[in-house]
């Protein structure tokens, strides 16, 4: 096969095309000018110009998470790369497949403290799944293909390729993706069947079982969610989702207990605490989920299905570990469950469900309904009803509004819910929404936001307007960093240290200044009309919803507490002061 000779910049774009990339999120600069010149000369790849490199990465995350494809980012050297670090870390924590190409100063200047030089591979080593510095154009094509393979295989994650400017100019050979095979990286996709047999024996023998399902099922692809739903229904067992797992099991299914963890439902957390067999699928026993490790699901036997062997026994010791891709494992489980004619103990299951139903009756998400002030939960219920049945995607920023959105917005399908779970990045939601909207131009995309979070990447309204991406920013404006305020109220004697933004912009005028539409709801009576208009306007919209500034997010398991020490509402106070080892937990 004749080798094609291209310059480095052309090799990069050709490799992206061959890897199926359609959209690049980026920002030009001195060290990536050759790539941008090559972009100018072609029409296959679409470039979305953001206003800040962090937003380029979050937009690519939104794009990736809503499509299942690898997101692609190009930024320049130095500040371009350092601005991308938060986004890369976010993608690493939430296992989002990305390829980020950074420009670098020419090879002969590396190490000289040149203009806009940063040790990008050094800085990003711990916030990427893998990274490369390509010093010779002859390795460039191979490295790009490897990067896509690493980003999307196994537990997905961000991969960075640092390309010095001279390498972008130099001519070199192009190799096609199929000619590249990775030397070392071979994640285990198919499970060990002996472990699967052990798992189904344990599952079938359970008396108080629960499925605890995380983002790994979403990452595996839509088939995994389908198989999971099938298997959960075959067993008749209850199922709870983590924040990242929402949508992998239909929220409308009667077997769904809602989200678990720090702000999860009463029934999900108590069922976790009281279960005798836990089936963790694509979930990583994060501290937000487990609470106090020593009192986590005491007396339970645990099965952990995960593609990442390092997730197993990291925080919690499990009894049966099944390493493999969720879809493969679930397929084997269903097959063996049928072949072995497994039948759960129906009497025990009936008792378990009746116990769960008494927990459900506590109606843990209830809140004080009033027509005097818009409660944030009420605003989300109205949003939920207005978008029900539409083709919609939800992103969030980070804080109270995020937890309320997770509690109050139902997801029946995977890939519809984009939130910053692991890193908890304020400012994630708007750029992520833009990425989602670019991938799904005719769908409704709503960023449920707080007024503090939205200020962190508000400049991206300009991007939304430029590309006519009609994202809807639905701000639950309580004039506080709500979650910080809540913790200060509950754990720090109501000393509201620096958690109030006393000078906020007029969000309606701000939207208009960006060339978007601004709407406001200050009274309960205005809410429905504002939501209706937000959906109807085919343009980017900021909705400023003035909500009760004092509302707290419940249920809540305070740091260092066990699942059964969950607080249900404002009247519920911890019986004793939070233990010191709990206070230090974030």
């Amino acid at each position: 096969m004749a080798e094609q000779v291209l310059n480095g910049a052309e090799i990069i774009l050709k490799a992206l095309k061959d890897q199926g990339v359609e959209v690049i999120f980026g920002y030009p600069g001195g060290a990536v000018l050759p790539i941008y010149d090559a972009l100018y000369k072609q029409n296959d790849l679409r470039h979305i110009l953001v206003r800040h490199e962090q937003a380029a990465v979050h937009a690519a995350e939104g794009y990736a998470r809503s499509t299942g494809k690898v997101g692609c980012v190009i930024v320049t050297s130095g500040p371009g790369a350092t601005n991308a670090v938060t986004g890369l870390t976010d993608a690493l924590m939430d296992s989002i497949p990305l390829v980020c190409i950074t420009g670098q100063v020419p090879t002969h200047l590396i190490g000289n403290d040149a203009f806009q030089e940063a040790d990008t591979t050094g800085i990003t080593r711990s916030c990427t799944k893998h990274n490369y510095l390509v010093k010779d154009v002859k390795h460039l094509a191979r490295t790009l293909h490897e990067a896509f393979f690493v980003a999307r295989s196994g537990r997905p994650g961000p991969v960075l390729i640092d390309v010095p400017k001279d390498v972008q100019f130099n001519e070199g050979p192009y190799v096609a993706p199929h000619e590249v095979r990775h030397k070392t990286y071979r994640p285990q996709v198919k499970p060990d069947l002996a472990r699967v047999e052990e798992a189904i024996d344990l599952i079938a023998g359970a008396r108080r079982p629960i499925f605890y399902v995380g983002g790994g099922v979403v990452n595996s692809g839509p088939l995994a969610s389908k198989l999971l739903t099938q298997f959960v229904r075959m067993t008749g067992y209850p199922c709870t989702n983590t924040l990242m797992g929402l949508g992998s099991f239909p929220a409308s299914d009667p077997q769904f207990l809602g989200m678990l963890g720090m702000h999860g439902t009463y029934e999900a957390n108590l069922a976790m605490h009281g279960c005798d067999v836990m089936i963790a699928v694509g979930a990583r026993f994060d501290d937000r989920v487990t609470g106090k490790i020593a009192d986590f699901a005491p007396g339970s036997r645990k099965i952990h299905i995960d593609i990442d062997p390092s997730s197993i026994n990291k925080n919690v010791r499990v009894d049966v570990a099944v390493v493999g891709d969720a879809a493969h494992v679930l397929e084997d489980m269903i097959r063996l469950w049928k072949a072995r004619q497994k039948r759960p103990d129906q009497a025990a299951l009936k008792d378990w469900w009746s116990q769960i139903n008494t927990w459900r009756k506590r109606d843990c998400l209830r809140y004080q309904k009033t027509d005097k002030v818009i409660k944030p939960q009420y605003a989300l219920e109205r949003l939920r009803d207005a978008i029900a049945g539409t083709d919609h995607y939800i992103t969030t920023e980070v804080g109270q509004h995020q937890m309320w959105a997770a509690q109050f917005l139902p997801f029946d399908q995977p890939n519809r819910w984009m939130t910053s779970g692991g890193l908890g990045t304020m400012g994630y939601g708007l750029p992520a929404a833009i990425g989602v909207q670019i991938a799904h131009p005719t769908s409704l995309v709503v960023d449920v936001a707080g007024e503090s979070s939205i200020m962190m990447n508000i400049q991206e309204m300009s991007t939304a307007v430029q590309y006519q991406a009609p994202v809807k920013v639905f701000i639950l404006n309580n004039q506080y960093m709500g979650m910080v305020r809540q913790w200060q109220e509950l754990l720090h004697g109501s000393r509201y240290s620096e958690s109030q933004l006393t000078s906020l912009p007029d969000f309606v005028k701000l939207a208009e200044a960006f060339g978007a539409v601004g709407l406001r709801a200050s009274k309960v009576s205005e809410l429905d009309e504002v939501i209706r208009e937000m959906i109807a306007v085919p343009r980017p919209v900021i909705v400023d919803v003035a909500v009760d500034p004092t509302e707290n997010c419940f249920p809540m398991i305070p740091g260092g507490r066990a699942h059964n020490e969950i607080l249900l509402g404002p009247a519920d106070r911890p019986d004793e002061a939070t233990p010191e080892d709990g206070m230090v937990l974030v």
């Binding site: 591979t121 711990s126 799944k129 070392t184 990286y185 062997p309 390092s310 197993i312 026994n313 010791r317």
Partner: protein, 172 residues
């Protein structure tokens, strides 16, 4: 005993076969510092130029759960070919090399020389008032030698850290 998994500190020698690419050592060290694992010693050298392979030997300590995590995390690094826990996998040989400079004259000087003979240390440099001894052995043997030299004019020590290999015919 579940308590042994989370309480008892064990010392493990782990061999890691990696692609000899830039940054690979930084990745391994960054993993240990970033996740708060101990490194008692770490050695690295290229072992196969043609296939571009290096071998890293790490002596670490932690509870059983932590040691399992360390191995899983090492295996997760993209340029890592293989990870082997020599401590778990049966008998193995562990050796370290030390260069020990001892300065002194008279009785102390001859005593240092006599003890070096007992330890099979080699003299690799000498002046009228100093020796440099080269000694290989286990970390404990080296430490015992260094402790004795402490009484006899110990001036400087350089140690390599452990390298290790499994016993028997099977390769890595």
């Amino acid at each position: 005993m579940p308590n042994d998994l989370t309480n008892k500190i064990e010392k493990h020698t782990i061999a890691v076969l990696v692609d000899n690419e830039p940054g690979v050592l930084a990745r391994v060290i960054g993993l240990f510092s970033g996740r708060g694992y101990n490194i008692e010693s770490l050695t690295v050298s290229e072992i196969d130029k043609e296939n571009n392979l290096s071998r890293i030997t790490i002596v670490t300590s932690g509870t059983r759960m932590i040691v399992e995590q360390i191995k899983a995390q090492l295996e997760r690094l993209v340029p890592v070919h293989r990870v082997r826990d020599l401590t778990d996998d049966g008998p193995y040989i562990e050796r370290e090399l030390a260069l020990v400079k001892v300065a002194g004259t008279g009785e102390r000087r001859s005593e240092a020389m006599r003890i070096a003979g007992i330890f099979n240390a080699r003299v690799v440099d000498t002046t009228l008032s100093s020796f440099i001894f080269e000694l290989t052995g286990t970390a404990e043997e080296l430490s015992a030698f260094v402790a004795l030299m402490g009484q006899l004019g110990l001036a400087e020590i350089s140690r390599t850290g452990a390298v290790a290999i499994s016993r028997g015919a099977a390769g890595f």
